[in-house]
């Protein structure tokens, strides 16, 4: 039976998760309200051809054009008012959001409905990442000197590594129900649970 996955946030991590999950026997719905800017093309799986387009819609178009992979795109911001409508039907959630408020919406919904949720998270300097199943996930607030993350392209390989570990953890869950969680530093992947 096909697993219905809802991926929330298709920026740096989420766009690469969609790319790397394309061969899995899953259906994928991606949610993101944001539009693609020039700087995003340095660190996200979005192309110059999609500048100005919605990230979710552009990703769906790219995946279909390059790989024939069908993705459902939802070009909306997740809010308390629409969280039920947008996440319902998902057998599993993947949170690759970039703000604590939206992560809390996802986490609360996942726990209320007992839906497995895998979180991906990056440090502002692109030097630390987490891939954590919800039972162990702590939501980090942005630091006061909130800096845009990973925008200069220097961290692309690390971002892709975190995304790859996230998809591997997802595969382990789909295959055997496992929930392996990891912390990542440059050149190092540490299983934490």
């Amino acid at each position: 039976m096909t697993t219905h996955i809802v991926l929330i946030g298709v920026g740096a991590l989420g766009s690469h998760v969609a790319l790397l999950a394309r061969n899995l026997d899953v259906s994928l719905k991606v949610i993101d309200f944001d539009r693609i800017e020039q700087k995003n093309t340095l660190s996200q799986f979005h192309t110059r051809m999609s500048l100005g387009h919605n990230k979710a819609c552009a990703l769906a178009q790219t995946m279909m054009g390059l790989f024939g992979a069908r993705i459902e795109a939802v070009p909306h911001r997740l809010t308390a008012d629409n969280v039920d409508a947008l996440l319902s039907g998902g057998d599993l959630l993947i949170d690759c959001l970039d703000n604590a408020a939206s992560r809390r919406l996802v986490q609360r919904w996942a726990r209320r409905h007992a839906v497995p949720c895998l979180h991906g998270a990056l440090a502002p300097d692109g030097a630390y990442g987490r891939v954590i199943w919800d039972e162990h996930f702590v939501i980090d607030e942005a630091p006061e000197d909130n800096q845009a993350t990973c925008e200069d392209g220097e961290h692309l390989a690390f971002i892709a590594q975190v995304a790859a570990v996230l998809v591997q953890s997802l595969q382990a869950h789909l295959a055997e129900g496992a929930t392996p969680s990891y912390h990542l530093r440059r050149g190092e992947v540490v299983r934490v649970a």
Partner: protein
């Protein structure tokens, strides 16, 4: 540098600060407060006993987060991570 194996109520502490990373040589109580863990971590870094972290990088750990993971079958030791915040995705 040798490290002491944690007992059941203790945890191994791993610290990441300013891009450097290392384990504290001695375990700490798993139920220590966040402030205690940050204090001990900073003391250990300043004393040069955290292999992998130069005492010169020791600044404040106030912006760091404490993560706790109890021992499991696959990771058979309690772990505490002192790490930078990861608010982005």
């Amino acid at each position: 540098m040798s490290t002491t194996h944690p007992r059941r109520h203790e945890a191994r502490v791993n610290i990441t600060l300013n891009g450097q990373n290392g384990d504290m040589s001695d375990p700490v109580p798993f139920d220590a407060t966040d402030q205690q863990i940050k204090h001990w971590s900073l003391e250990a870094i300043r004393s040069g006993t955290v292999s992998g972290i130069s005492p010169r990088v020791a600044g404040s750990l106030e912006g760091c987060v404490i993560d706790r993971f109890p021992a499991t079958a696959t990771v058979p030791v309690n772990r505490i991570f002192v790490r930078p915040r990861t608010p982005f995705g």
